[in-house]
Amino acid sequence: MNKYLTRVIEDTIFPFVAKPTRYLGNELNAIHKNHEDVDITFAFAFPDVYEVGMSHLGSHILYSTLNKRNDAVLERVYTPWVDMEEKMRELKIPLFSLETKTPLDQFDMIGFTLQYEMSYSNILNMLDLAGIPKWSRERQDHMPLIIAGGPCAFNPEPLADFFDLFVIGEGEEVMQELFDCYKDWKQSKSTSKLDLLESLAAIKGVYVPCFYKPSYNMDGTLKELEANASNVSTMIQKRVVKDLNAVDYPTCPIVPYMDIVHDRMVLELFRGCTRGCRFCQAGMIYRPIREKSPQVLKEQASKIFNNTGYDEISLTSLSSSDYSQVGQLTKDLIDQYGEFGVGISLPSQRVDAFSLDLAEEVQRVRKTGLTFAPEAGTQRLRDVINKGVTEEDLLSATESALKAGWSSFKLYFMIGLPTEAQEDLDGIVNLVEKIIKLDQGLLREGKRKGKKVNITVSTSSFVPKCDTPFQWEAQFSIDELKEEQLYLKQHLPRKQVKYNYHDAELSFVEAVFARGDRKVSQALYHAWELGCKFDGWTDYFQYDKWMQAFKEVNLDPYFYANRQREYDEVLPWDHILCGVSKQYLWKEREKAYKIQLTPDCRFEQCIGCGLCNTLDVEMKIIGGEHSDATD
């Protein structure tokens, strides 16, 4: 514990900043170790504010798993909120870990989780607050190793010049290997970071960007990424945990003092999703589906409840109503914990898998609104994106929910999807009008009582992401997106409907970094210099500063966001293998333009995405009700 720093922070900063519990570090179940008793000190950095970072399951998993090692300590650090940053800079307080208030530059390693492109400027700001050089080439050998992982590491190139290494894929196992390797290096008394990076690069799933050099074509596209060290592999394959029942799960998670975004206990039902929505990166990079057994989940629920006392259990995954045992599990959990006032929440339900019984079961304790994500307004466009949901599904799910007493609905759509046209916008409006009409009918016929239906329509703007069938697509221009938002605003019914939409300019900058190469790092650095931070927060996002940064480093952002790529173009992330083949993604793209659906390999035969063979894994469904994908 850094007593001096603790005292200064408590007396001269905490009384003057909002929500000081963000920085306390002594929440229930937080782990405190003496740094002298361990070989490896690791600062786990989440480049956003505490209440966002603490809501992220992956952070809790790594915190729990790696702190089980006696030879290592993992401590947390989040981006200090703007008032805190101001105070820290004024008093020259370096960025510190929450648990022991140790300045970040005293750690062996700092690991950032990359959940969202718009948090990149916060990474630079956090390194700056820690007094650590941001460009990896400027860091000396005695300085901490700066590493990263998470979904955005599937295109690591925009950050390649800042990080020493990236971990690709699921962290539970590879991080153990990385720690072992680091410990060996430390015990060998070597002081050369190059030695360390060479041995770390030999670990499967570890990408050390300084060992690769890009060259570019005249038109600015990537020519090749050449390995400039002899022993490194040309392709980095993602890591994947084969059996989720067998790996550690945080059953004693930290319970925050403040009200965070997701303030509840979390059970992870399964990883992966093979519904195959063509815009969805998570659906591609987290394959295959691996369900956890209900017994394991119930044991974990019991431990978490005893260790936290939360009043809500969230059953999470990419598509929770797809869990094969969801009905029975929900019922069992409610039977067990209902009497303690514990409710169950089931995020991400599909309308075609919507079950009224389940919804009622889930909301027995608290009845909140229902959320559906049709994603597109017409059947044609829903088929283009392979959403596989019909208008009938949506209307019948809504009708049964209305009859059962729900009156509040949220509908999520995307605008700017490939092939989208005027009819598709009108489709959104029609769908909403149909629900209102349906509700009026039910009220008139006395089939339901109570308030008129109210609908919140949210549109996000499509951002093409790497490793998806739409990775070659051009994003709609900011003006086009804004026009569509305005159109919806003007045409959606005013009464009973609330319309929210994402900032189009923000989605544009996100698109630059989602598919950027190493050159975009200059713009990121300069944007940080100009004061960009918390870009994911609409109130703090400074579009003019970003455009100034692009201009001043001579980088064309439209080249990255709004340009259609050809099949044979070398993509900046081609060397990072997520397991789904590029050929398959292209085939899916072609099917999108032909408006052809691709089934889910859970329910029908293997669709040939190449993942199971490439990664030597297989899908796991409880009860085994699936065709074997590896046949």
């Binding site: 306390l24 002594n26 003092y257």
Partner: protein, 232 residues
């Protein structure tokens, strides 16, 4: 039904945990310990817990009185042990007693709070400080601007300060004792009392830091002092 009143302390480690945060802590503690605390009726039931007085963020205390209404009877000692086993480090129940079920709320009754205030005043002399306090208390009106939901508001805090004395000095750190009036006539925080001294230019140095510790809560009726255990 049964009512148990406890006295709880909050130390340095958790002094920035706000009242609302602590309420959440308590509800989780009760669930972890499976304690039979009663729930209110209605659409959104919540636990029947009530506080003597809300502690300001940043202050420590040894006199946080909390009432719990239970669905079934428990020995106060057992109840206290269960709470202490589950409370996060920094919170501790010191005493627990059974009280009559139907009694007026503590919050409505209490009208005095005693704080111990430590502050660092570089180069300050005890005599100077005592004189300053003396002239401060002689004022009939001490007007401060307070931020409210509707903007800035002038308030007179003088009627809320009953007494203020210097207890001790150690190097530049002074310990004061403040007796403040609380209740429906308004509330003032110890930091605001110090702020008032600065505003009226009675202190020649600004405190480098202030630490506030609550040491007593009671009901003053004429010359009679009634402790929270006797309020029923």
């Amino acid at each position: 039904m049964q009512r148990i009143r406890v006295r709880l302390s909050k130390d340095d480690r958790v002094r920035f945990v706000s009242h609302l945060d602590f309420l959440r802590v308590l509800t989780r503690v009760i669930r972890r310990a499976r304690l039979p605390v009663a729930l209110t009726q209605g659409f959104n039931p919540h636990l029947k817990i009530s506080f003597g007085s809300i502690l300001p963020v940043g202050a420590t205390s040894e006199v946080e009185y909390i009432d719990f209404e239970l669905k079934m009877s428990l020995e106060p000692e057992t109840f206290m042990a269960h709470l202490n086993k589950q409370l996060p480090p920094g919170f501790h129940v010191i005493e627990a007693r059974e009280m009559p079920v139907k009694i007026p709320s503590l919050q409505g009754k209490l009208n005095r709070i005693v704080y111990q205030v430590k502050l660092m005043l570089t180069g300050m002399e005890q005599e100077y400080l005592e004189d300053a306090i003396h002239s401060y208390l002689k004022k009939e009106v001490i007007s401060l601007t307070k931020k409210t939901k509707r903007g800035m508001k002038e308030i007179n805090i003088r009627p809320l300060i009953e007494d203020m004395t210097v207890i001790s000095q150690e190097n530049d750190v002074f310990t004061l004792e403040l007796v403040l009036v609380t209740g429906n006539t308004g509330n003032v925080r110890p930091e605001q009392v110090i702020e008032g001294m600065l505003k009226y230019e009675l202190l020649n140095v600004e405190p480098e830091w202030i630490r506030v510790h609550r040491i007593a809560l009671y009901l003053q009726e004429g010359s009679k002092v009634i402790t929270p255990w006797e309020i029923m």
